[in-house]
Symmetry: none
Subunit: 263 residues, 2 copies
Amino acid sequence: MASVRYIVDPDLAAGYDFINSAIVQRDLLVVAARCSVVYEGRGASRLGEGDRLIIVKPDGAVLVHRPTGYSPVNWQPDSHVITVERQDNSILFRSVRKRPREVLEVTISKVYFAIAVHGLVDDAEFIEYLDEGEIADYLARHPEVVEEGLRIIRRERPLESGYADMVAVDSEGRYVVIEVKRVTAGLEAVKQLHRYVENFRKANPEAKVRGILAAPAITKDALSLLTSLGLEYRHIDVAKLYREAKREKRRGGAASLLEFIKR
Amino acid sequence: MASVRYIVDPDLAAGYDFINSAIVQRDLLVVAARCSVVYEGRGASRLGEGDRLIIVKPDGAVLVHRPTGYSPVNWQPDSHVITVERQDNSILFRSVRKRPREVLEVTISKVYFAIAVHGLVDDAEFIEYLDEGEIADYLARHPEVVEEGLRIIRRERPLESGYADMVAVDSEGRYVVIEVKRVTAGLEAVKQLHRYVENFRKANPEAKVRGILAAPAITKDALSLLTSLGLEYRHIDVAKLYREAKREKRRGGAASLLEFIKR
DNA sequence: GGATTGATCTCGTAC
DNA sequence: GTACGAGGTCAATCC
């Protein structure tokens, strides 16, 4: 459980003591202060006095944020050594990074507040998903994920409405209309697939046509409607697909150096 | 002068009131909380419960930081609308971005502390030394640093796309397309130069054209690609250029050091 | 450790 | 608005 210490509108001596102890204890430290910044490393910069938010994380990451925008104005992705010094009319905060050698110095002339949090716990997994188009793209490249022996014969783009995401031929020569969903499939998805399958049947009266709804999950009602319509459900693991697709993308991008010239 | 309000270890009702009022007043808001995050927009992500630092800036920028690392785990570069809702066992913080359409939702189950700062003032100028444009400017004034006998015939402004930083004529009357980098040049820089040289050749089919990549260093792969494309590498010493440029500026007149740096 | 590549890149700028 | 390029890019991955 996280424990919080804080100090508001302290004088420089108290501000120094607080900041220093937070650094020593490797707390998460947040300081709002009037300060100036000097950076020397890969680049070099100077920032005059102003009000900023200074964040120091337990792993040594340092961020100096101005009151606007996503990006920190100065930062240190990680620090080798962080020191705090008491000076005449200021507190000197210094973060040194080992490689590349970089030094960030924040000279604090007024502390508005400082907060130190100890014992933060953040074990949660960060999960990224693919959008529907990307999932369909991946399944088009790897139809065996949906069913062994499938061969994609048409891949529809999202814009072309009235058609399913893809049409394939199965190992027995039957057409397979496939609709992909990124989230739990409901009745709407089933109706959609049904419509696409009927469209396909109308356009190809002779053909044998199956319909598959590929989604990470399906509601009970949707599944029973699906079944009653003679359609099929296939579970897809979106997180796994995301990992596979990412890996594939990396490999795919690693073409030879001269590749781009031929293009 | 900045004014600070804060609340420590509040219950959800008090936490909600505080956060909501800070948003309404467009304060800089910093919250340490146990929370989960959902993001949908250009990408999509889920982050389970954990302790995080949430920062909301007066301009609508939102950052959710885990206890480690430089990068926020979730963010919003700016928000069109920020809303805060009281739910049964949580506070729902929602930031919606207009274009591209993106939604970030933070569900807060425990507020460790929250701080709102009003009236932050940060007018200071941020000054960087020798960016790429300034290096190119210097080389344009002193082409002999790149090669004896060069005469600059065109100096492109940094943002005119499709053209290299400068074009010169060498002592034998050949055109020389020059691309400048302030850090180690990689494959991307070589591809860029190659593109510019090809563009120039297309526009001037008769001309003899060389291509020079001027940078403080170049990766091995980049150099071999460069060579295989018939292009050339010139080492430039950025630190030396900085000193030279500084000296030149001093001699040049009354301009202060800061004046020069700003340019 | 060095190099390459992708990113919810962000940010600025020119058209 | 889009398009392009720079960045102290950062961060992950490959070699």
